[in-house]
């Protein structure tokens, strides 16, 4: 079961229920720390969407960026219309958290649409996340740090987490990312692609029961 059905741009809570209408625009916010590559993730995802002839934007949280400090990056993807909005993303459909440590210091669900989804790099179970951080939206979870350590040798999860986002949303085909990844990472591209693929496979999507969704 996919969180988003890419071709028609529909979000399914289960087989029947349409939760988000993505025909127009999907907005994604990435949370990371300066130096963890959140902006690169956003860029790669947008490039992949553009590669599929979709319309997309990616941009950093504007301003000076300092290593270690919490940062954000944004992506807008539109399936069939040019994106005519340059204002910041304040009500995302999807939130991605690269660094588990951010959950306790940043309100990652701020502005998240009621039927949105949070994609987390975590080793915890959904129930635990909900209890500990009060996140009530749909969740997609993957232990990206372990995957990155094993496949890339470093706990940098930005590319790995793209696999999770694609798994959770199916906004694009995973293969569409590969060209941009190869262009950017050259020698290290294949390992990054492996990490994305593994994250795609291992991501667990926890839907909300239909009665939990405020319509």
């Amino acid at each position: 079961m996919r969180a988003f059905e890419s071709l028609q741009g529909r979000f399914y809570g289960d087989e029947e229920a349409i939760v988000i209408d993505t025909a127009q625009l999907v907005e994604i916010r990435w949370h990371g720390r300066g130096g963890q590559g959140a902006v690169t993730s956003a860029e790669l995802l947008a490039q992949a969407a553009i590669y599929e002839d979709k319309y997309a934007q990616a941009f950093p949280s504007f301003g000076p960026e300092r290593r270690g400090a919490p940062v954000q990056a944004f992506v807008r993807i539109s399936h069939n219309q040019p994106i005519r909005n340059r204002a910041g993303v304040t009500q995302p459909d999807v939130v991605v958290v690269l660094d588990p440590g951010l959950l306790s210091i940043v309100d990652v669900t701020s502005g998240l649409k009621k039927n949105g989804i949070v994609v987390l790099n975590t080793t915890k179970q959904a129930e635990q996340i909900r209890q500990e951080f009060g996140i009530s939206s749909a969740l997609a979870m993957v232990d990206a740090t372990t995957i990155a350590r094993e496949l890339l040798g470093v706990p940098i999860t930005n590319t790995t987490m793209i696999g999770a986002v694609v798994r959770a949303t199916e906004l694009i085909k995973l293969e569409s990312l590969f060209e941009s990844v190869r262009r950017r990472f050259a020698r290290l591209a294949e390992r990054n692609i492996e990490a994305m693929k593994r994250a795609y496979e291992e991501t667990v999507v926890e839907e909300l029961a239909i009665d939990q969704i405020g319509r």
């Binding site: 956003a42 860029e43 947008a46 490039q47 992949a48 969407a49 553009i50 590669y51 002839d53 319309y55 997309a56 934007q57 990616a58 941009f59 950093p60 504007f62 301003g63 000076p64 994106i83 005519r84 909005n85 340059r86 204002a87 910041g88 304040t90 941009s180």
Partner: protein
């Protein structure tokens, strides 16, 4: 056939300069312009662009080095933003008065203090009268296309003036979006090599930058003014030719859903796109509103503006700069002055907003339009309204 690829607009500008085969790039880094010059430095370092990259010690020297480079006939590019543009200020006049065809992208940024690295049009407005041709771009593709057009316009023998292509800091410069880069062969066809007619050349010595006593200064300035006004013809020609070649057409003023509209909003730069979405929404709700996007800022397109508003009753102008103690935003004030002579009984309402990187959302534009309509009906004690300020 080239296809659109997702790239950062700053990187795309670097690629456009590579396609234009610039000879000299002299620049000083400043946020949010840095990615442009970093990418150019990289292109030069990788041998992908055969140019001299001059990492000068200030914007003043960047523009000064550009003067020297352009005066020997080299194709010359630079980029700056905000304070950098202000530091260049006096040099900008020299570039235009001495008819040196330099191309510069200005990544629009607010002016200090307080220090702000974020975007607005304060820097651009402060250099309004420097005699440069000035184009405001709305999206990444427009920047790329207009950098290419800028070289062609600047170096045209009938023009020989420097050109600024303005793009909003961060909102445009740092955006990754779909860009179509033209192919080298097409660009070479469109943009012939620079042939400056009277370069500094030991085989034919000329004296540039003379001393002009009162008996002759007025003549030099009028010659410059006539030249800049006449440049508009060439700008239109170049845009037409660009459209014919590459399929993307540009005009000094663009109307978006403004046919016979009673109420028009006028914007400049990348926020116009957000404004378009607001117009779409308001139209779908039955409102009689449209949008005018001003692309060519200098030479000012008087006729096109008059034509665009000919049927409107209310014109709302959004400025992203403040003329302290003055009549409001500089754009609004110019529009008022352009329309005063036309005798049209048009109510013009000025807003200043989006300062120092403050977003204006789709809802924000709706609010501006609605408030503008209200002011046009009931009036306002103020010369202009500031949008979004916390009271």
């Amino acid at each position: 056939m080239p296809s659109k690829i997702g790239m950062e607009v700053s990187v795309a500008i670097g690629e456009a300069v590579r396609l234009a085969n610039a000879d000299v790039i002299a620049a000083y880094p400043i946020t949010p312009q840095t990615h442009i010059v970093e990418h150019l430095a990289e292109l030069v370092a990788d041998g992908k662009l055969d140019a001299e990259f001059m990492p000068v010690e200030s914007e003043h020297s960047a523009m000064s080095a550009c003067l020297g480079s352009a005066a020997v006939g080299a194709r010359t590019f630079t980029a700056t933003a905000g304070q950098g543009l202000e530091l260049m200020h006096e040099v900008l006049y020299i570039a235009s008065s001495m008819r040196l065809p330099i191309v510069m992208t200005v990544v629009n940024r607010a002016l200090s203090a307080p220090l702000s690295v974020w975007g607005d049009h304060s820097d651009a407005m402060a250099v309004r009268d420097t005699g440069w041709i000035q184009i405001f771009a709305e999206n990444g593709q427009e920047v790329v296309d207009n950098v290419l057009c800028a070289f062609r316009i600047a170096e045209d023998r009938r023009v020989l003036l420097p050109v600024m292509v303005h793009l909003d800091g961060f909102h445009l410069s740092h955006m990754i979006e779909p860009i179509l880069l033209p192919e080298q062969g097409e660009v070479d066809q469109f943009l012939p090599p620079n042939q400056y007619p009277l370069p500094l050349d030991p085989n034919k010595p000329v004296t540039m930058g003379d001393f002009g006593p009162p008996a002759i200064y007025t003549e030099t300035k009028w010659a410059q003014e006539v030249n800049l006004r006449q440049a508009k013809e060439v700008i239109l020609q170049v845009w037409n030719e660009f459209g014919d070649t590459f399929g993307r057409h540009y005009t000094p003023v663009e109307c978006y859903r403004c046919e016979d509209c009673r109420v028009l909003l006028l914007t400049m730069g990348s926020f116009s796109e957000t404004a378009m979405s607001a117009i779409d929404k308001m139209r779908s709700e039955g409102n009689d509103v449209g949008l005018i996007r001003l692309r060519l800022w200098r030479p000012f397109p008087f006729d096109e503006i008059r034509q665009a508003v000919r049927n409107a009753e209310v014109l709302i102008v959004l400025d992203r700069a403040l003329s302290f103690g003055g009549p409001g935003g500089p754009v609004c004030s110019e529009i008022k002055s352009a329309l005063y002579q036309s005798g049209r009984k048009l109510k013009i309402v000025g807003f200043v907003g989006g300062l120092g990187g403050r977003d204006i959302s789709i809802a924000g534009f709706e609010e501006i339009i609605n408030r503008g309509i209200e002011i046009s009906e009931v009036g306002s004690p103020h010369e202009f309204e500031i949008f979004g300020v916390r009271e």
